[in-house]
Structures are given as C-alpha cells and as structure tokens.
C-alpha cells in the first residue's frame, strides 16, 4: 500500500494505546480518586448502609479494582455505557442525541476561529513590526484571556437583548423545533435535507452567537501560530525565489508561503479542538444549547454516575478520533512525512 496508507495504519495503531491511557485516567479520576464514588454521589444524605451497599453493587464498586477496570474497558468496547438513573435511557442513546448539537457548535466555532485567526495572522506577519502587527498581537493575547462565558453573556446582552437581532438561546425557534423532525440531529444538515430553507436560516441564526463566542476565544491561538509560522516561512528561500521570479506579492503570500505555513497550523487546529470542547461547556450553558456538555452538567447536578462516566469517556474517544484525523491531514499536507 502507498506511503500515506501505511502512515494512516501506523497512526491508527498508535492511537489505541493513547486512547487506552486516556480511558485509564478517566477511570482513575472517577472511580479511584474519590475513594468511593458512591459516597461522592450520596454525600451529605441521610442514607442507611443498605442504600450505599446497593449503590456499590450497581456501580460495581464492591469488586476489586482490577475486575472493575476490566469490566469498565469491556463495557466501553461493547458500547455499553450504562443507563442514566435520571432519564432511564441508555447513556449512549442520550449522548448520540446530544452530540450533534455540540459538534455543530464546535465545528462552527472552529470555522470562525480559523477564519479570524488565519486572516489576522497573515496580516500581522506581512506587516511585521508595524502598528498593525502589535495591535494584532495584543488582540490575540486578549482573545484567549477572555472568559468564554463572559464574552457570551456580553454578546447575548448586546445582540439578543438590546438589539434583538439574534435569539437568546436554543438551536431553533420553539415552534419550528416542535414541528421539525430531525434525521441526524445535525440541524444544519437536516433542515437542508428536508428542504426547509427558512428553518435552515433559523438554525444558522441560533448558531451564530454561540459560534462567534467560541471561535473568538480560540482564534487567538490560531492567529498567533499563523503569525509566527508565516514569519518563519516568509524568510525562507523559496519565498525569495518566488519574489525574484517576479510573482505578484499576493500570490507569493497566499500560494507559497501560506501553504507551507499551514503545516504547523494544522496541528494547532487539532489541539484547539480540545480547547473548543472545554469552551463548549461554557457556551452551551450561556446559550442553553442542548449538547453533551450540558448533558454532563445536568448529570452532575443529578449525581448520575453512569451518565457522568459515559459522557467523559465519550469525549475521550471523540478527542482521540479528532487527533487521529488531524495527524492524517498533517501527513497529507506535509510531503516530508511519508513512511
């Protein structure tokens, strides 16, 4: 098989131990660290020893750690994430229902972040050491110094409440949502599949502020990375060569410099997805967005251990997958990496 194919396989094989480690860390945090997760869930309550005993039996905490660990791994492999004590439904079902919302939010946020980051980074690099450059640097620092939830609240206050141009929360207008039958739960996709253009626009309008909030905060890293990467590249020989050949400056920048600068940026994008997930919790809270982050918070509020564990595991798997895909994309872009 070709070089890329072999590389993909290698990365896949390497992802598994990483995922395993991650799952082990989650296991340690949720089951080992608190001593007794049942006590953590039932803390402060007037419960007799039988109740605690039953909880331990249900969660399997009464068994030796090694057995618990193996059972934990095997149930994940089987796709059995337990049942939510709050909703009564399998946790995996709840996650599949909630995940598309988070993914739409994260993807849109990433899109915004990349757009803003690339543009400001390129501009700053090209106008290196000028006022614009300094300004952009400060903006970059500012963007990742701002608390996501505060920015979200400010946007909410300004655009939704004061100006009334955007809705205050949720994914769709309540009436539209009630009459709408989602297929995949990715609303942008579903509304198009159902040829409901008005609802598509509505979904977009609901997505706008949360995506902007999320993207703004992450754009700083990307901007920073773009700037330094571009600065490195602009100094290189092939750029001088391109300039010497007489190519228009813009072409030089976009075609040659940016293409090569993109390589490290792609890795940063992969890392930023983790940041996005963290920011998503806050954004989903501020904008009442029904994603997995909100599901996690409600589950914590209800001391729903299986749901908490299932959600964290799910996120771990998702992140690992994203990292794998980013690695592959990186390989595709950088011709130097071929095994």
């Amino acid at each position: 098989m070709g070089g890329l194919g072999r590389y993909i396989l290698t990365r896949l094989v390497m992802t598994i131990p990483m995922l395993l480690i991650l799952l082990t860390v989650v296991f340690l945090i949720l089951r080992v660290m608190p001593g007794d997760p049942c006590l953590a869930m039932l803390g402060g309550r007037n419960v007799g020893p039988e109740v605690i005993a039953r909880c331990r039996q249900e969660l399997g905490v009464d068994r030796p750690l090694v057995i618990q660990y193996l059972h934990y791994l095997s149930s994940i492999a089987r796709g059995d994430f337990g049942t939510s004590i709050r909703t009564g439904r399998p946790v995996l079902v709840e996650l599949f229902l909630a995940f598309p919302a988070t993914f739409e939010l994260a993807a849109s946020g990433m899109f915004v972040a990349v757009a803003i980051g690339l543009v400001t980074g390129v501009v700053a690099a090209v106008r290196h050491d000028t006022g614009i450059d300094h300004g952009v640097r400060v903006l970059n620092i500012a963007s990742f110094s701002m608390p996501v939830f505060w920015i979200g609240l400010m946007f909410l206050m300004l655009f939704a409440v004061r100006l009334g141009v955007f809705p205050v929360g949720g994914r769709l207008d309540p009436v539209g949502a009630a009459l709408f039958q989602p297929i995949t739960n990715f609303y942008l996709l579903d509304t198009l599949l159902r040829r409901d253009f008005g609802l598509f626009l509505d979904a977009l309008r609901h997505l706008f502020l949360p995506a902007l909030t999320l993207g703004l905060v992450v754009s700083g890293f990307i901007g920073r990375m773009t700037r330094s990467s571009m600065l490195e590249v602009l100094d290189r020989e092939y750029v001088t060569v391109a300039r010497a050949k007489g190519l228009v400056e813009r072409v030089v920048i976009l075609r040659h410099a940016l293409r090569n600068a993109l390589i490290p940026i792609v890795t940063v994008i992969g890392l930023e997805f983790a940041l996005l997930m963290g920011g998503a919790i806050l954004t989903e809270t501020v904008f009442s967005w029904p994603g997995i982050a909100r599901f996690l918070l409600v589950s914590i509020d209800a001391r729903d251990f299986q749901a908490i564990q299932g959600t964290v595991v799910f996120i771990a798997i998702f992140i690992s997958t994203v990292n794998l895909l980013v690695d592959i994309a990186y390989a595709r872009l950088d011709p130097r990496i071929r095994y």
């Binding site: 131990p17 990483m18 860390v25 949720l30 997760p37 701002m146 608390p147 939830f149 505060w150």
Partner: protein, 294 residues
C-alpha cells in the same frame, strides 16, 4: 495553553543598551508586571481598601447602580460589588498560583527525568502526558471537582493536574536537545554521575524555555478557576469570587443590572491579559528573535 516556547538562541551582540531603550523594548513585560503587581497588592490589601464586608449586607440599596457610595453598585443581597471585586481576586489568584506552582514542579521534574533517562520510562510517561494534554482541560477539572466535591484543595489539585503535561513537554523537549550538546559530553568525560549532570548542567539550561510558560498557565488557570466557579464547582457562597459573581449576576442581566457581571469580568480579563503580556515579554527576553530586515 498549548504553546511550546521557542528555543534559545545566542543573545544578540551589541553595545549595552540604555535603560530607556531597554524599557521600551520590554514594554510589554513591564506593563504586564505592573498591572499584575497592582492587582495582587490591591487584593492583599482588600481588608483595608474594601469599604464594606463583601459577604454581608451593606447600607446601600438592593441592586443599586454605581454611585458615589457604591462605585460598582450593589447586588441583590445588598452586598457592595466593589468590595466583592476587591476580595474576589483572592481565590482565583491563590488557586492559580498554587496550582501552577504544583504543576511546574511536578511537570518540569518529571520532564527532566523522563527526557534524560529515556527508555521505557520515557515512552510510558510521554504517552500518558500526551493523553492528558489532549483532553479538554476544563472538562477534566470539572470531572475531578465533581467527584471530589467542592473545596479549595480539590480545586487546586484539579487545576494543577491539568497543567502538568504542559511543563513536562517543554522540559523534556529541552532536555532532549541539550543532552546531545558538547558540554554534557564534557561533563560526562569528567566523571559526573547522571544525576549530577542532570541537575547541575542540564536542568538549569532548560529554564529559559521553561520559564516562559508559567505566566501563560497562570493566566489560563485564572480562567479555568473562573469557569469552574461560574459553573458552580467553586467554593460555596458567600465567598467572594469573580467567576461566581458573574454566574450570580447572570439572572439580572436582562433586567438591565449590568454592573454585576461587568466589573468581575473586566478584572478577570485585565489580570489574564497582564499575565499574558508578562509571558510574551519573558519570551522575548529569554528567547529573542532575530530582527527582520523588511
């Protein structure tokens, strides 16, 4: 924060710069440090500076807008917002400083050992650190606090845990580079033990790169602490805390009571940016880039 700082290069040769020129070159660092210094001082002096008890009712009205008596207004339980803002920095700064101190020590230490001795230990540790690093830090911190329960030590521990991989990676990367250099060969030839070489020769030389990181992680830790408090995983009320106050003020936003979240939010931003500026400044100081000829 996921930045790996630039590598050290030779210091630029040249005449000794005048003080003013130095100040201008390192303006970002100085301004950042000044702001941080100001905020820390004000926070420490809160008991003297605050006009009212931040946890108790003040004579001002309920949800009173900023005025002479209450420059930042009052909240719904008649508490003075200015006092809460002054006291509210204690927790974030304390938690951030403590957790970064812990992750710095543990992470750097482990990075040195892992990078120097290599082998299976290094491979194992690297994979573990990479795994933790790739996971969303806020969610990890929330999971830890949710399971351990609210409390100062739990919060510090949770946030410290999240940043250990950052320091690990920087320290380890530095050690890997330095390991191959000549002065290490020389030291070994002179008969130094591994530990001696590591601690005496290598570790100090990793510091220029490693020291650029703490400011950024402190800024990030402040934001993480604020996020945890905002989501309700911080210390229980009525402890003043910027993040908590923002969550509290949320329900009054629509009614037009903007001062409840604006001031705590601004404080978080200012302190965070200031630490970021320090970080940039330290980075420039320790790892100066070649100037461009454009």
């Amino acid at each position: 924060m996921g930045e790996v700082a630039g590598f050290a290069t030779e210091p630029a040769a040249g005449a000794r710069p005048s003080f003013l020129r130095m100040a201008r070159r390192h303006s970002i660092l100085l301004v950042g440090a000044a702001i941080v210094g100001f905020v820390v001082t004000v926070t420490i002096l809160a008991p003297i500076l605050a006009p009212y008890d931040p946890t108790a009712q003040s004579p001002g009205g309920r949800l009173a807008p900023p005025s002479a008596a209450h420059p930042m207004g009052t909240d719904q339980l008649h508490r003075d917002v200015l006092s809460r803002v002054l006291y509210g920095g204690r927790l974030p700064l304390l938690v951030a400083a403590a957790s970064v101190a812990i992750s710095f020590s543990l992470g750097t230490g482990l990075g040195w050992i892992s990078g120097y001795f290599g082998g299976r230990l290094d491979r194992a540790l690297s994979v573990v650190m990479d795994a933790i690093y790739s996971f969303p830090s806020l969610i990890l911190a929330i999971a830890i606090v949710a399971m351990l329960g609210p409390g100062l030590l739990n919060m510090i521990g949770a946030i410290a845990f999240v940043y250990i991989p950052t320091y690990f990676r920087v320290a380890r990367a530095q050690v890997l580079t330095l390991k191959e250099q000549e002065f290490v060969e020389a030291a070994r030839a002179m008969g130094g033990t591994h530990w001696r070489i590591l601690l005496r020769h290598i570790a100090p030389n990793t510091l220029p790169a490693v020291m650029t990181v703490p400011s950024f992680t402190i800024a990030d830790a402040i934001l993480t602490e604020a996020a945890l408090s905002f989501l309700g995983f911080g210390l229980p009320p009525p402890t003043p805390d910027w993040g908590f106050d923002i969550q509290n003020g949320q329900k009054f936003l629509q009614a037009g009571y903007w001062w409840l979240i604006t001031f705590p939010g601004l404080m978080i931003i200012v302190v965070s940016i200031a630490f970021g500026m320090i970080g940039e400044g330290v980075n420039d100081l320790l790892n100066p880039r070649r100037r461009r000829a454009t």
